[in-house]
């Protein structure tokens, strides 16, 4: 475990990468969430005609939202690498937790890119598609984005376990935030019952499986970003 003052660490571009986290959250919230009618989503028991009707009426803003969301999906991965680099200074470059933190972020990027492409597909020629097909594309995207939760849990657990091992008097990331991430990683498992429900708390639009699950993850990003920025400064000063 490398807790000695480090030899000069290459900090070029690091802050930029870490900044990409909050940028991702802001862009994704607006483009995927607001423009894409995903924050919150259509309840599963919404009639297909209503979902399809909304797609046909908002085709250009949906296309815009999805292409920008897809463009900025890698921002999450970039951020994840920036955070993993902070973790390197805690547990060492060779530690597998660093690799898992990176790959979890990378996998999450993929599982954001693919569903956004499905929503985009639904908006490509909605006038030619039957209502049920547009609904199915919407459903498919949601089933993937929700049930791919485990790839993000990998990132959350790796960062959590790694930052908990920080032996500094003032850790780079406070223990409570490391535990918070671990808790979020576990909480995601509720998504497993999402496919069983068309309404209620466990549906994709429900109080538990949408509101709580998404918010607890999205607030984690900017909070961790703040500590990561401070850590980079400390690392530059050789702490």
């Amino acid at each position: 475990m490398d807790n000695q003052p480090t030899a000069a660490v290459d900090t070029r571009y690091w802050r930029f990468c870490i900044l990409m986290g909050p940028v991702f959250v802001a862009v994704f919230y607006y483009c995927w969430g607001v423009l894409g009618h995903n924050f919150p989503p259509f309840a599963p028991n919404t009639p297909a005609s209503e979902v399809a009707g909304w797609y046909r009426e908002n085709v250009n803003s949906i296309r815009f939202g999805m292409v920008v969301a897809m463009t900025f999906a890698p921002a999450y991965g970039v951020w994840g690498y920036g955070i993993a680099k902070v973790l390197e200074e805690v547990v060492g470059k060779d530690n597998i937790l660093v690799q898992l933190a990176r790959v979890g972020a990378a996998w999450t990027t993929i599982t954001l890119l693919i569903p956004t492409s499905f929503w985009l597909t639904a908006a490509f020629r909605p006038e030619a598609l039957p209502d049920w097909m547009i609904q199915m594309l919407y459903d498919m995207a949601w089933l993937l984005i929700d049930l791919a939760y485990a790839v993000t849990s990998v990132q959350l657990f790796a960062l959590g376990a790694g930052f908990l091992a920080d032996k500094r008097a003032v850790p780079f990331v406070p223990k409570w935030l490391a535990w918070y991430g671990i808790w979020v990683g576990f909480m995601f498992i509720l998504e497993c019952v999402m496919p069983y429900f068309r309404d209620g708390a466990f549906a994709r639009s429900g109080i538990l499986n949408f509101w709580i699950e998404f918010i607890i993850w999205m607030v984690w990003v900017p909070v961790l970003t703040i500590y990561a920025f401070k850590a980079v400064g400390r690392i530059e000063r050789g702490e």
Binding site: L164, K175, W176, A178, W179, Y180, I182, W183, M187, I189, L190, V193, Y196, F197, G200, A201, F202, I207, L208, I212
Partner: protein, 201 residues
């Protein structure tokens, strides 16, 4: 067996006053808050539809609920004793108490399996109605917590006699793991009352 412990729990988190580890307590409180939301959602549903909830509640077998409660209380007693022994530096005894914790806790899993199977055999599932959605999901999530708790206990068996760890560290982790196990216990107490005992007129 004991009144005031010989040493208070030692904790190296600056500014934290309490047994175990402050970070683990954060996790425990967060988890308890998640369950509080579950309870709120259930009660909101019950208020909206008391007849459905009562009819469904009567399909539950109180004996399983009570058995599960007694199992966890007993297992928790051994864990509490294990912490007190650890505070006195009685590491081997603490380890024995944690083995007893595991052994007396395992029947919870068996009871749960039997109870759920009986429900499935009656054609009940998480999509049967709103009550049973909550029944299966919340006791299921609780059960996952129980399983994780078993894992924590297994690790603590090692911790108790780990010569490479300072006594204060060992105590901290035993208390922290114990706090988690007691959380599993107390959450079940709420679930038992909420699911099995809320009889409506």
């Amino acid at each position: 067996m004991s009144t005031s412990p010989a040493n208070t729990s030692s904790n190296t988190s600056p500014g934290f006053s309490g047994p175990g580890d402050s970070g683990v307590w954060f996790f425990i409180i967060a988890d308890m808050c998640a369950f509080a939301v579950f309870f709120l959602v259930f009660i909101a549903g019950r208020i909206a539809n008391p007849e459905l909830y009562e009819t469904s509640r009567q399909m539950l077998d109180l004996r399983f609920g009570l058995a599960n409660t007694l199992i966890l209380l007993t297992s928790g007693a051994f864990m509490a004793q294990a912490a007190r022994d650890a505070q006195r530096g009685l590491w081997l005894k603490s380890r024995q108490m944690m083995i007893a914790t595991l052994i007396t806790g395992l029947p919870f899993g068996v009871s749960k399996a039997i109870e759920w199977k009986a429900k499935f055999d009656h054609g009940l599932s998480l999509t049967t109605n709103e009550f049973f959605t909550y029944y299966f999901v919340f006791t299921g999530i609780h059960f996952l917590h129980f399983i994780i708790g078993l894992g924590v206990l297994v690790v603590l068996l090692q911790t108790a006699t780990d010569k490479h760890k300072a006594a204060t560290t060992r105590l901290r982790w035993i208390e922290a793991g114990g706090a988690y196990w007691h959380m599993v216990d107390l959450l079940w107490i709420v679930l038992f009352a909420m699911l099995y005992l809320l009889r409506a007129a």
